[in-house]
Symmetry: C2
């Protein structure tokens, strides 16, 4: 996952009336939402998935046969090819690669050296999109800064000509909520540093592990805005740099980032469907199951977001294997989004290409938080539909999944461009206790995934998604998501 | 720690008679070994150490102010300088750097790429001492081999022109005993591969973690013996290569090792003493507390062997702080050995330089197994002294330390050249559950050490070493260590 600010609710509100008009007045369905027949199939799907799924095998295939697949890289078209073939081989219909233009940035060689007082080589990596350093690197004294707020308040006289080092730690929490608090500096730190006259930015990795593996992640890029070469240090290397600064002696540092920006490249959202009984008629409705196909370049993209690809593909595939009599009414559409990490290219392209069809998106669910077990289902649906949705969510209860009626799920990053379309969101919140140990680092590999955890996730998804797809419950229109920060 | 075969007991036996003669017939002391006065001070030292020591601070200083310090590297003389200054500053006497000539090998840039069937870059590192690959790398088909035994049995017709990949896993055990079983291929694999006509060797890292950080370690170098470029892959990368091989398709690999061998370099064993009451007299006896000052180059040498340096320095320092009335009879000599990792240069030089004095080494203890808590004391002393040693070992009992009377401790690698001198060994066996997660990898940094664990170790050492130093118990001569394998 990447971090994305939600589309503002002001914009969202401006569109709501259109959607309401388009959906026939928006009166929510209040009839019983879950027939005994549907419940029975949903429970069967759930229990069978818990006993074992292909999800892990799908992730393994993607990470072994494609591996790193950042936007525009050699792995990107290989991933698109893999996905289209995999969906076809698994029995999906209407498999296609919908073109998406993506940015193309390459990391190149990255190196960092503390020159004095105590020379040490540190493990660091460029922030996604970072400018290159001058050839041979940029060499300067380091100025320690506690956090983004301090950076913003910094006196330019102090910062001028320095490499700034922002050392705040991300807090480890099961729901991953420490990320939002820590990630700000990754997004805007380099631009802020440039405003102060600094010549480089170092940050402590936005992560919760103590491995010598730095975490990358996208900078927020604004056309024409000044910036500086920016990199993140692994946690132990941040400790080291903090320790050298704490000695009170001047700390000199050389930062070498041989990053390169290339022209935009062609990529694609890869889509496959399990057509519902209404498919091909004007009544056809869609449930989008989304994950992103791209990954950062350092790891092989197992938890981010191979796991999500495995979850949504396997959920839809299992529903697609049902006998004709149990086939759901609504169409389940798997969307493997291009370039989530570096600007949501695929998500934006999907929302645009399918704008006319968004009103027929009865629900969307995104899997982009690793492979931990689902512990909660949360929605953002028409509030009037919430009571009727309860029994559907309860299908996952035997899996240890609670149903939150807060109805304020942000939805994932790739669903955010659908917010103005008021597409209802079903979120399967997963345990993220170890997610940020691995996220965006070289450690994002298949061995970090427990296949039984993935089976539990697929069990929750199959039961709930089937019940929504097979029934008639109207979830539209969704309210705007809450503002963050 | 590195892996060292013990000196053969045949050699050891040839020397025993000399030692017995030199020590006045070798009748072991059987009088009560631990007076109430000595026990009281030993217990005070133990309890005060448990409440908090400087050990962590010493390790931190070494890892921050020197960092990587492999033999002959720029860090080597800096470490020698650090150690001499640190010992002097902490109040040691007779501080000196005894010259040692060490080999000098540098890793340079190391890279590995799976070229087909599924292109992937892998995380690997050269084995210590590995030959360089030809410029541009060696490119060949990979042949999977289960373990060293299979490698030795391999038909040269099959191996010729191939890169061999030995994939056996090290078993994780609290006492680290999986290491001996797994490490053989690291030592002799490249020479065996050369004998078979292979062009390169890859091994799964000898380690127990699943981080994307390969583990290095010394190859056994034999002058004039043919060899091949040799590297270890991190565990996830080994999984990947195994997976590609399991596809049944030919796997091509490019291995680039820009290693370099330089002329031998000057280094030193750094020594400092806490003189006993008999110091300067012919009766002076020594207790050697040893650790090694060098580290591998990938990490900052916190657990291997900064921790050991911290333990022995702090143990001796605390005993040295006692009031004159409690001062022990025997001299405690801290030896920070040069180049343990790549051939035991310092240990051999010490045994040689101090050959005439070895008969006055009443005991030696080595700290080279990280920072985990001591769970057992084991000896290799004159068996007749074992009952009398019991009460001394029991000083550590309240710390959760058992006393094993097996009397078969191998002693550490740096003590092995003293085996022919029959120097008694006291081993403080530490919990090594996570030691091989980190050992010889970039992850060997100070954050992996819990200061409270180090305090417990120092508590055990101070109590027991003081009791040996203050009393009269004769532990000499030690029997030969058991043969391994």
């Amino acid at each position: 996952m990447a971090y994305v600010r939600p589309v503002s609710s002001a914009l969202a509100c401006a569109v709501v009336s259109l959607v309401l008009a388009g959906s026939g007045g928006g009166a929510a369905e209040t009839a019983p939402s879950l027939s005994p027949a549907i419940a029975k199939v949903a429970e069967k799907l759930r229990d069978e998935a818990l006993a074992g799924t292909k999800a892990y095998e799908i992730v393994r295939s993607l990470t072994f046969e494609v591996g790193p697949r950042s936007a525009g890289s050699a792995g990107d078209p290989r991933a698109v090819d893999w996905a289209a073939k995999k969906l076809a081989a698994l029995g999906f219909q209407n498999v296609r690669a919908e073109p998406v233009e993506v940015p193309h940035w390459e990391r190149g060689r990255n190196a960092g050296t503390i020159l004095s007082p105590w020379p040490q080589t540190v493990a660091l990596t460029a922030l996604g999109g970072s400018a290159a350093s001058p050839a041979g690197g940029v060499e300067a004294e380091v100025l320690g800064v506690a956090n983004l707020e301090e950076l913003k308040k910094l006196d330019p006289a102090q910062a001028k000509g320095k490499i700034l080092f922002v050392s705040n730690h991300m807090e480890k929490k099961p729901d991953g909520s420490g990320y939002g608090a820590a990630v700000g500096v990754r997004g805007v730190g380099a631009a802020e540093a440039a405003k102060k006259g600094a010549v480089g930015l170092l940050i402590r990795s936005v992560g919760t592990d103590s491995n010598r593996l730095p975490h990358t992640g996208a900078m927020r890029m604004t056309e024409g805005e000044a910036t500086v070469p920016a990199a993140s240090l692994s946690a132990p290397d941040s400790d080291l740099l903090e320790g050298e600064l704490a000695s009170g002696q001047a700390v000199r540092f050389r930062l070498e980032l041989e990053t390169k920006r290339f022209p935009n490249a062609p990529s694609a959202n890869v889509i496959g469907e399990i057509p519902g009984r209404d498919a091909g008629t004007p009544k056809e409705e869609f449930i989008v199951l989304g994950a992103h196909l791209d990954s950062w370049d350092l790891g092989t993209g197992a938890i981010d977001d191979g796991a999500g690809c495995g979850i949504v593909i396997e959920t839809a595939r299992r529903i697609g294997q049902l006998p004709p009599a149990e086939r759901p009414r609504r169409t389940i559409r798997v969307v493997l989004f291009a370039n989530e990490e570096f600007g949501l290219s695929g998500a934006k392209a999907y929302a645009e290409a399918h704008a006319a069809e968004l009103s027929r998106h009865v629900a969307a669910a995104e899997a982009d938080f690793g492979s931990g077990k689902v512990y909660r289902i949360k929605t953002r649906i028409n509030p009037a539909a919430l009571p009727a949705f309860g029994p559907i969510a309860e299908i996952a209860k035997p899996l240890g999944v609670e149903f939150s009626t807060a109805n304020d799920s942000g939805g994932g990053a790739d669903l955010s461009p659908m917010v103005p379309g008021h597409v209802p969101v079903i979120a399967f919140d997963q345990d993220g206790s170890t997610y940020f140990d691995i996220h965006h680092s070289a450690n994002d590999t298949i061995d970090k995934i427990d296949p039984k955890d993935l089976d539990q996730v697929v069990a929750a998804w199959t039961g709930v998604i089937y019940a929504v797809a097979a029934g008639d419950l109207e979830l539209r229109p969704a309210p705007a998501p809450p503002e963050r920060e």
